[in-house]
Subunit: 219 residues, 2 copies
DNA sequence: AATAATTGTTAGATTTGTCTAACTTTAAAC
DNA sequence: GTTTAAAGTTAGACAAATCTAACAATTATT
């Protein structure tokens, strides 16, 4: 269908659109680590395939077709991550790089089987929603822990900008999805937070960390 | 390391060398469905990387380095096939196409995990040996069923030239690896064989079939 | 409003992997 | 031993995906 390269552009366009709204050639260039002229000619090519709406000097937008294709690739990525964690015993910090490659495998059977073995999961190991078989994503509305206040109790639903280093940090603090977290206080000077969770712990989380933790309020 | 394309050439060179002894540009061209001039320039490139011994108009030979690289790709292919069958419930006729793609994934962890989960298997679902982590293959010496005679009892060890159609045929006759087969008679006219195996069956196997079944003689 | 910085585009070169057409060498047939 | 067929090679073209250098448009700063 599409090349490995085209698939990576589509995925990046999709993810950037959901993070920052408008997507520029420059954004794409940075995230893919590919120079702007290359990105420029590639998005024109994708426009030729009706996957992207392209107008000179205007923000880039995926077409409906483009969104669907991107969603299907992201579906494969996230199903793979879930499979690696749930069925192969990898840690959530180890799976992204492998999924980055396996997402390009062409085989409905393979991913359907994963899906079935996993019991048709709705989220991946980092709490991101897994698009359905039509490529549609069912967004979960979380808020950042950093936007919550002292006294509130929340449940950790997802992590964003989850690099290997960040996830290892979360491991070291025993922070995992589903955890109930009580916010004891917020330091107004630097936005750091004192929280408690699990057994007997009292931890301080920097703003850098609390901005990357997505939670839902409970109780 | 090497490109997807280069890996496919190495693998084809390795497999052809073990089937036919000498490998020609023409053989490679046919098996890869790539025209001779393209193959010619590619093997020269591989020679430049010290993966192939190349001399004009002479048969092609993998270097030790080339054999090792090829062995490691075939290791990934066969471990994947075994994983798909043993851990994901695919039939032996369904796994080759998927493995053909997954063999190019770069991730030691991923394949080591498969290996571990499978209990360090020595053969794949078709009875082919899985190369070790240094790329070395421990050849098993089987003979073709077609080379055996009436009265002999053999065990089915491997299948060769195992296309999806052939494997489906074997499924339909309940022929699977490990099966004990008694040769009742051999028709000298067309080489067909009357055999018995499993419960109460008496089957006739054409030469086309018995040539693709590798067996070991048993007591 | 003028200037500077950033972003976007065009043009042209490069690498990889493929092709066709033409030619050469080796092997097979007569 | 010629002649014919098959296999191998060389030369040149091409599409995909990348780059650099130069130029243009937009946005931000003063
Ligand atoms: Mn990921
Ligand atoms: Mn990718
Ligand atoms: Mn196979
Ligand atoms: Mn392959």
């Amino acid at each position: 269908m599409h090349s490995h390269t085209e698939e990576n552009y589509l995925k990046a366009l999709f993810n950037l659109a959901n993070e920052k709204g408008e997507v520029s050639v420059n954004d794409l260039s940075k995230i893919l680590a590919i120079k702007m002229p290359t990105v420029n000619s590639m998005v024109k090519k994708l426009a030729g395939k009706k996957l992207v709406h392209y107008e000179s000097y205007k923000p880039l937008r995926l077409t409906e077709k483009g969104k669907k294709e991107a969603g299907l690739i992201i579906r494969k990525h996230r199903l793979t991550e879930m499979f690696l964690v749930q069925k192969m015993g990898f840690g959530w910090e180890q799976v992204h790089e492998i999924a980055e490659q396996i997402e390009h495998i062409h085989s409905p059977y393979f991913f359907d089987k994963m899906d079935e073995m996993l019991g048709y999961p709705k989220i991946d190991p980092h709490g991101s929603p897994i698009p359905d078989k039509t490529g549609k994503v069912d967004w979960i509305r979380y808020e950042k822990l950093s936007d919550c206040g002292a006294g509130e109790t929340v449940r950790l639903g997802a992590v964003i900008h989850s690099t290997e280093e960040f996830l290892k940090f979360l491991n070291s603090r025993k922070l995992h999805l589903g955890l109930k977290i009580k916010i004891k206080s917020v330091e107004s000077f630097d936005g750091s937070m004192v929280v408690s969770y699990g057994k007997n712990s009292t931890e301080t989380l920097s703003l850098t960390v609390s901005e990357r933790l997505l939670v839902e309020k409970i109780g």
